[in-house]
Symmetry: C2
Subunit: 363 residues, 2 copies
DNA sequence: CAGTTTTGCTAAACTGTTTTAGCAGATCGA
DNA sequence: TCGATCTGCTAAAACAGTTTAGCAAAACTG
């Protein structure tokens, strides 16, 4: 029953819109126009050498003129690759508004763009994990791989990827309980640099605000803090360590407790910039001065650290680079790289105005 | 030539992995096992009432047992809906690390999850626009719609969506030059609240740090600032207004210029929190006190504003809610809603410690 | 009890690619 | 000069769903 009207050439997509109602050009349209099979057009577009130069050029021009765009749903269905990766963020209310994650995601997106990948966002909320969505996004062909940010030891689901053979990369952390690909910052060296610096400035009683003992990277920092103190002949006092929950508020409270239990503290080392900033806030609130009375050091070097008062001495983490590297390794993994990925990127100290020589403490 | 081995039931996906090598269950597998056609299984899954209750239940159980997951590439190819939307961010180096965008994206993702949508990330870099990628992600069936964040008047590409009939939503801004769907905060009312408050505190010479005159929302604030001054019988002095480029550094420099040109200023109103924080930093640097000498007000109410010293008085923008509403309206648009979207969400003043009664100025 | 409607399902077409098997005709080697 | 190889292309299957037309049989209607 089909009339001859269908024969009219599709040289121009008939209307600019409305979109999605059969207005786009398909391989079939190009093939019909060029009087070749769809296989030929497909092979031209994929640079298959079995097509003659003449035919190839002729079809390339036609593709150009007709404004053909391959439908990537069909491509993915056929090729079994979606060229999409997911970034899985923890279920924190302000995860997206966090400068730490932002920096990593920025690196991931830039690298993904260069490699022809798209980036999808997921949040690992309890429902998401319970419904096995983290595996389903693979089974349902949403993604070829995932990058896991902000993980901790309780995130058992990270192991599921390995078991199911789904390419996954843990960013800026690692796990003791099982083996998993990861790319992270050198937390040990970062902490060593802080401790060397503070000890050099004459600090002996150094408070440490940590957070989340269930994060391997965070534990590494505390362990290094302790061993560097011992190395310097100082027995770390348990009251010097408090939990700051990774937040400004937590950092402020932790600083308060530390200074209450040992007023002779001369420096406070925050496990991240936010807690260090909270600590500074609290120190000032207690009528003390930074850095004259108390030196404060952070860890992250968020853009913001240079704009608090006083500006914050901190460890620079190459978060953007970690994101890029993670993305790159993940794609290698997707394409069959067999060896495990265990990459560690260097960190360095940035000295600003929140640190000074230790005040002389009455002993 | 096919042997009878294929007949063995696929009740359990043969191995947990390796993934992606023909290990998943398809509609065809379920149909074979249930001894019905694929159409029947498809109809059961889509709740088509033309299937008997008995068959439906039987198949549902089988689907459950076999762990069938519909392949969404095939679904999308057939249905012409991807159930994916893109968030387009401006090409700023730290766009993802920005708390403002983070808050909006958080709202978008939460709402998207509830509506069965996935969120893709894109950055509107020059190349991206030049290659018409913003339209191509539609043509190539990556997405059903886009949400545009951080737009300004120079972003002519926003108009392309309308022209091409691609569902798009501008978030927290609008355009004079053309008509486009948008959901935004009430900038006018926010500014009015700030000005009412400062005038009530006795401030008469009020500096304003603005940014990007090519952003409609920002212009609205400056216009309102001027008209509120006039309303109070004060002729706005051009030297009171400076550009702060939306950054802390810019805010600091702008504050410096304003105070240089008119030292009798008693309050500074920053067009966003970052610039206000930069301004505070600079005011203190100049040996003045906040709020005793100079009151400072921000605009955004980023989480961080409560943790600077002194804590920042600011306008709370419902960014999370704007993200949610934008996502919701976009999906309506995708499904054919004809009326344009022009939504404005209310803002409110949050008074903290960076503002006080105006100091008495020698006239 | 013939004729119509309803019910429950199937076959086949359709979405738009990639890929493999293979067909002619030309080229080559012995 | 005959078989083998190469060249350039096509037909068809595969990917995994949705949707429409339509077929029997059962259930109604008059």
């Amino acid at each position: 029953m089909r009339t001859e009207q269908a024969i009219q050439s599709k040289l121009k997509p008939e209307k600019p819109g409305p979109f999605g109602r059969g207005s786009t050009v398909s391989l079939r349209d190009v093939a019909r126009e060029a009087k070749v099979s769809v296989a030929t057009v497909s092979m031209v577009l994929n640079g298959n050498p079995r097509i003659s130069r003449a035919t190839s050029l002729r079809i390339q021009r036609l593709v150009e003129r007709m404004g053909y765009q391959p439908n990537r749903l069909a491509q993915s269905l056929s090729s079994r690759y979606t060229n999409v990766v997911a970034v899985i963020l923890p279920a924190l209310r302000h995860a997206f508004a966090d400068a730490y994650f932002g920096e990593v995601i920025s690196g991931i997106c830039d690298k993904a763009g260069k490699m022809g990948y798209k980036v999808m966002l997921e949040q690992a909320k309890p429902d998401f994990i319970r419904e096995k969505q983290h595996i389903r996004i693979f089974e349902r062909r949403y993604v070829d791989g995932v990058l896991c940010l902000g993980t901790n030891d309780r995130h058992k689901w990270v192991e599921d990827f390995g078991v199911s053979g789904c390419p996954a990369m843990v960013i800026d952390n690692s796990f003791d309980a099982f083996s998993v690909d990861h790319v992270m910052c050198d937390y040990r060296s970062g902490c060593e640099q802080v401790m060397n610096y503070l000890l050099q400035l004459g600090h002996r009683r150094i408070g440490m605000i940590t957070a989340a003992p269930d994060i391997k990277a965070a534990r590494t920092v505390v362990d290094t803090y302790r061993s560097k103190l011992r190395e310097a002949g100082i027995e770390p006092n348990p009251v010097w360590i408090e939990d700051g929950k990774f937040t400004e508020e937590g950092g402020a409270q932790a600083a308060h407790k530390i200074l209450e239990k040992d007023p002779q503290i001369t420096a406070i080392f925050g496990g991240n910039d936010k807690m260090a900033i909270g600590a500074m806030y609290q120190v000032v609130n207690l009528g003390l001065k930074v850095p004259e009375d108390i030196s404060v050091v952070g860890f992250d070097d968020l853009r913001h650290a240079a704009f608090v008062n006083p500006t914050l001495t901190t460890i620079h983490l190459p978060l953007y680079e970690v994101g890029m590297a993670g993305m790159e390794r993940l794609v290698e993994r997707i394409h069959g790289r067999p060896e495990p990925v265990r990459e560690v990127l260097p960190t360095h100290l940035v000295v600003r105005n929140s640190t000074a020589l230790a005040r002389t403490v009455s002993t």
